[in-house]
């Protein structure tokens, strides 16, 4: 497997050789920031296109196919349009919070990008509580949504925000617990370690039943975390027009729109990292030649491919199931997922303690 840290370290040494240390750090930060933004924007645009095409396929339609080859440029056109749309300023809103909310949402998803393992050595930061950081920053998003709903001074957005608050806080538990289950299994919170631990076999296969249960719960809770159908109550179109972002126009709405898709990527990326080995190729113990062939596929492709495949499942949910009601949504979490999750955690601890895993 090609190690990207060779390149990054070479770059670091090169810069250090003729620049003072603080300047090197600044340049590196800027470089990473620009790269991140680029990846971020491209991924979001790709995801918008991906979902529209997939949704069209589920609905026996063609989907965008006129703008650019196969409609590939459709989301770029949308972006240009959104950039020039008027930013409506409302009279009776809390102007500061109203303007702040979309940025909070987008920052939350951007921060989470920092710890995703894109490839071998291609990780912006790998520290010992990486997973913890991921969960922590991704919950900043709910603050943005709450602020958006509250500051818009609109009853629909307020209901959307309150729904979102209740939903995100509840499902954070499930996400946290299923992640914790896997942390117990991996024995580390560092993302690099977790990926390395899946060298011979992905956790989903090596972790016995608890890993599979945790995976399913993570997918359900992750869908809820991203406010996507069947858990799209905060923006339930047939109920609350556009939910918490009803009053947002132009690029502010664009931020919410992008963040929704980026969160989808983050959730599926995290699932790929925890259960499907991150950037690790597909290995089967004993099949040396097969493993060797798999190693030729670059890690970046493995990671993004896994994330997109998992996103497919989540998009599939959305276009198949009807929406839950708020009380059903909460009872699903508190009455079913949480107890199962706790039990699952204990099970995983037992498995780890007695060492009965592959």
């Amino acid at each position: 497997m090609f190690d990207f840290s060779i390149i990054t370290e070479w770059l670091n040494n090169l810069l250090n050789s003729f620049l003072p240390g603080w300047l090197t750090t600044t340049i590196e930060c800027v470089l990473i920031g620009v790269g991140l933004l680029l990846v971020y924007a491209l991924l979001a645009l790709f995801y918008i296109y991906y979902e529209r095409k997939l949704c069209a396929a589920f609905q026996c339609r063609l989907g965008p196919d006129r703008v650019g080859p196969w409609g590939l440029l459709q989301s770029f056109a949308d972006m240009f349009k959104m950039l020039i749309k008027e930013l409506i300023s409302l009279n009776h809103v809390d102007k500061f919070l109203f303007a702040l909310a979309p940025y909070l949402v987008i920052i939350a998803s951007m921060l989470a990008f920092a710890v995703l393992p894109w490839g071998n050595g291609l990780q912006i930061i790998d520290f010992n509580i990486g997973i913890f950081f991921l969960i922590a920053v991704s919950s900043i998003g709910v603050l943005g949504i709450l602020l958006a709903g509250w500051s818009s001074n609109n009853k629909f957005t307020l209901i959307g925000a309150l729904r979102s608050g209740a939903q995100m806080v509840s499902y954070e538990l499930s996400v946290g617990l299923s992640v914790l289950t896997m942390v117990v299994f991996a024995g580390s919170m560092s993302i690099g370690d977790i990926v390395q631990a899946q060298d011979h076999l992905w956790f989903l296969f090596s972790g016995h039943i608890p890993a599979i249960i945790a995976f399913i719960i993570y997918l359900i809770a992750g869908t809820a975390e991203t406010n996507r159908g069947p858990f799209d109550l905060p923006e339930a179109e047939s109920e609350l027009t556009a939910g918490y972002h009803t009053e947002y126009s132009g690029i502010h709405f664009g931020f919410f729109y992008l963040a929704e898709y980026l969160n989808l990527f983050i959730v599926s990326g995290t699932a790929a990292l925890l259960f499907l080995g991150g950037w690790m190729p597909f290995h089967i113990p004993g099949w040396e030649s097969f493993n060797h062939i798999m190693d030729y596929i670059p890690g970046v492709i493995w990671f993004i491919g896994k994330a997109i495949a998992l996103s497919f499942v989540i998009i599939w949910f959305k276009w198949t199931y009807p929406r839950l009601r708020i009380d059903q949504l909460l009872s699903l979490e508190w009455k079913y997922l949480l107890p199962i999750n706790l039990f699952n955690l204990v099970l995983m601890v037992l498995i780890v303690v007695y060492g009965i895993h592959l």
Binding site: P64, L73, F80, K81, I84, T241, F253
Partner: protein
Amino acid sequence: MEVKDQITTKSMPYEAFKDNEYIEKLVQELRDSGTNVLVGSLDKLINWGRSNSIWPLTFATSCCGIEFVSLGAARFDMARFGWEVARASPRQADFIMVAGTIVNRMAPVLRRLYDQLAEPKYVIACGSCAISGGPFRKSYHVARGIEDIIPVDVFVPGCPPRPEAMIYGIMQLSRKMKVEKFFGGVNRQESQKEFLRQHPIDKE
């Protein structure tokens, strides 16, 4: 900036559009006024984006609205052109398709919806009711055409218009967007402001 003679949408021949005088007149005006290269090419980029991403507001009052639903369905599939992102919130939509009769009670609501749309905004009057009152023209509680309420860009006749007619109408709107300049020049916002001046709403 040299404006291309034939303004059309993707994979549609120019000849397929009837009554091109209006667009040609616009193009001529653009030629006459001229603009500098930088703004011109920026305009081009923006107009490419705008004309290819026209999001409707989910708004329907009667029969035409059902044909609008059919327009989104598999047979006519407006998603092909990128119009399927129907936003329920007027802040996020680009045009309002007035599908159906507008009556006295609805008129202020329609006007408010129009005011809530974010610039640049467009209006398509869809069906004979929205154009003139249609079969209900003589009634006591019907607006005889929405032109008295909001400025209209494209009229799509029919009762209700077939989904194909609606596609044609939105394509015409797309062409109209293409020839307009976002920065100055022949800008529809001027005529829109003129309209709003003539039809003011008293502020409380």
